[in-house]
Symmetry: C2
Subunit: 420 residues, 2 copies
């Protein structure tokens, strides 16, 4: 049991930021409480594979409690922060309150509809496992409904799939959808030809993967097109309804629209009383602390950090580095020393597109095609938490590579099926 006389570090959120902060405090003279509203740490970079039925939920998630079982100074609590009082140093949870000496807020971000929340119902987003299972059902059901639909036009609407956004997740989703339609499903239907499904990728900006060098954006677009994805860039969505998407004057009739375009920081940020950017991210000091509150740190997707004039991106490596940094800053503080400012080290940027297709930008070294794909594959397996998960995911991929099959094509939960 943790020593109650030691300073109490309260960490909100068990994503990359919060979990890395907690683990880096293992040998520090503190007690740590990690609060999350789910019981698991999620490896978000592979979430799109759960959504597209390639992996099961437990393959990319591990119980926080199990990860931290050996860390004697850490307690995990399933709960949700509802209010923060930075003056009283107290957090109100859904099921109690906790006082802290140091607070690490790492509650992340959700997808955002840029003020068009009415789009959410027809264009589900992808941030949690429940989102992924919802999208999986959405997708698999589209083909099932098309199969029993007798009207040709209505059938075509069910076979049109639209992904909105041009970031790595969107590119990965669109590429995988095209593969499922072309390779996984064809022999299994009697009334439709899944190869005739049309996958559209819509990006408002001038190119896909805007965070990558332009040459890689071009390569990604070419690889997507080779897979059969229709790429629409420079076209903003003006309307989404149950039967399709408007891009200005142009209409894409589609029953399945997936959204991975915007991000909005966790609403907890608004409670901290600090300045926030347009996406709701909290502007922090160079040591990631809240202005005026050196005992409160904000990290990961919830933090707005600018370095050398450019914003630190909301990606897993940045969140992990912030987590580790904050743990070091707390240790330094307890030892009466000052911590140097946080520096983000950008090791590169990568996105997969499909079978043997990916783009990788390693600070100047640009890769694409098979080499990039192998790099992407091993990087993702390497960073998965847990020996077991690595083995399982790698086996699923090997299986899937040779058979074109996807192991998790199982409908769960409530149907969206109201037609007929």
């Amino acid at each position: 049991m943790p020593d109650v006389r030691e300073p109490h570090v309260l960490v909100l959120g068990g994503g990359f930021g919060g979990l890395w902060a907690t683990r880096a405090l293992a040998s520090a003279p503190v007690r740590v409480t990690l609060v999350d509203r789910t019981n698991h740490h999620l490896f978000q970079p592979l979430l799109y594979q759960v959504a597209t039925a390639g992996l099961s939920s437990p393959d990319i998630a591990a119980p926080l409690r199990h990860i931290l079982r050996g860390q004697g100074n850490a307690t995990v609590r399933l709960d949700e922060a509802v209010a923060v009082d930075v003056d009283a140093r107290r957090v109100t949870l859904a099921h109690g309150t906790l006082d802290y000496d140091f607070l690490v807020v790492a509650t992340g971000a959700r997808h955002a509809y840029f003020g068009r929340d009415d789009w959410a119902a027809n264009a589900p987003g992808l941030k949690t496992l429940d989102d992924a299972l919802f999208i999986r059902r959405h997708l698999l059901e589209a083909f099932e409904i098309a199969e029993r639909e007798t009207d040709a036009e209505a059938r075509a609407e069910w076979l049109n799939l639209v992904v909105i956004g041009g970031d790595p997740t969107d590119v990965e989703l669109a590429g995988t959808l095209a593969e499922i339609a072309r390779h996984t499903l064809p022999r299994e239907f009697r009334h439709i030809d899944p190869r005739k499904a049309n996958v559209h990728l819509v990006e408002a900006g001038p190119r896909v993967l805007p965070s990558m060098p332009e040459s890689l954006s071009e390569k990604a677009r070419a690889q997507l097109q080779r897979l059969g994805v229709e790429v629409h860039t420079g076209q903003a969505v003006t309307r989404i309804d149950e039967r399709g998407v408007d891009l200005g004057d142009r209409r894409i009739a589609a029953r399945t629209v997936l959204w991975a375009a915007g991000v909005a920081a966790s609403p907890l940020g608004a409670q901290l009383g600090a300045e926030r950017d347009r996406a709701g991210r909290v502007r922090v000091e160079p040591d990631l602390s809240l202005p005026g509150h050196p005992d409160v740190f904000v990290i990961g997707d919830l933090a707005s950090v600018t370095q050398d004039g450019t914003p630190v991106p909301g990606v897993a490596p940045a969140a992990k580095q912030m987590g580790a940094y904050v743990a070091a800053a707390i240790r330094a503080r307890l030892a009466g020393k000052a911590a140097p400012a946080f520096r983000y080290r950008d090791y590169g940027n990568l996105a997969t597109i499909g079978r043997m297709a990916a783009v990788v930008d390693l600070r100047g070294l640009h890769l694409s095609g098979v080499v990039a794909w192998l790099f992407w594959l091993f990087a993702h397996v390497f960073f998965l938490i847990g020996f077991r998960n690595r083995i399982v995911v790698l086996s699923e991929w090997v299986w899937s590579y040779f058979t074109y099959q996807r192991s998790a094509r199982i409908l769960l939960g409530r149907s969206r099926d109201r037609s007929g």
Copy 2:
């Protein structure tokens, strides 16, 4: 594409009965349409392992479409039968109608609360993958809530788990719960000792596993007790509410109550106009056809069949045998021959209790302990559909055996967590 001039066999339900009937018609001069409201065939005997976080949903389920992809005369349709008109030979589905020449009704059974449907909210049953995921969340959350609960009495309520029923599924559930509490969770909590959780098994009849010989019931009871399960036989449940169960005068305070006691046949049975037994099962002719309607067959858990004075049990082998029989009966009919009456061959009965503990009754040969457990294990892996699922399940079991870990301890879906 199936030949529309051939007789149309409509199969309702893709469980053991319906799927086996469909497959056995592969080379018959018919077209077959298999309708199910889910997209998968479920290996129900291992459903309790999904509920107890040992396996993932896709491990024990396979898309019907994928199983039947090579069977050219079979079409799979995701839909649900809502009405049957046996005179017009027409089935109304949620999304259309289908005419048939032969109808095979194999829509199975759900768990039943013996007229106490108000118990359902506090004692979830186990029949589908969604049920299993609901129970998994229910169970995992109980320990999480106990961990953050500060009142000792309230905490104890969260650590009491009750399973109602004495059939193989109940025994398997109770044994697994005891193992999770004693071996999987202990090191991971800081405020509770999961080993102090109490698992109760309640059976109204005089012994557990009533379908087995008495000596094996005794062995099962002893093995359960060794695992720490408190077995209450001869005690009927008189009340279930949010905080526990009444057994006559005795109260067990418990926040988690699981129900696998009764069965009620699918409501579709009521539409067939034939006599039904107390559980709603349809009484059929010796060739499993509906009295007065030789073109309609009822099989699996929905059929009430008596053989040599005893009812054919509602188990997977019986459903498979009925499915194969009906396919043969249809072939015979088309060839102008009469089919002999259906005969159920009982190859035995088995139930696992926990690690290296099981009971097996092979028509007189009784096994228990490690030998029975190994038999159970290989029998279940052998009968799983799909080479891939067999490998995956076997690997999960080996992993779990050596590590005591359960791979699917992931909370999904909505919480029941309203307290605090």
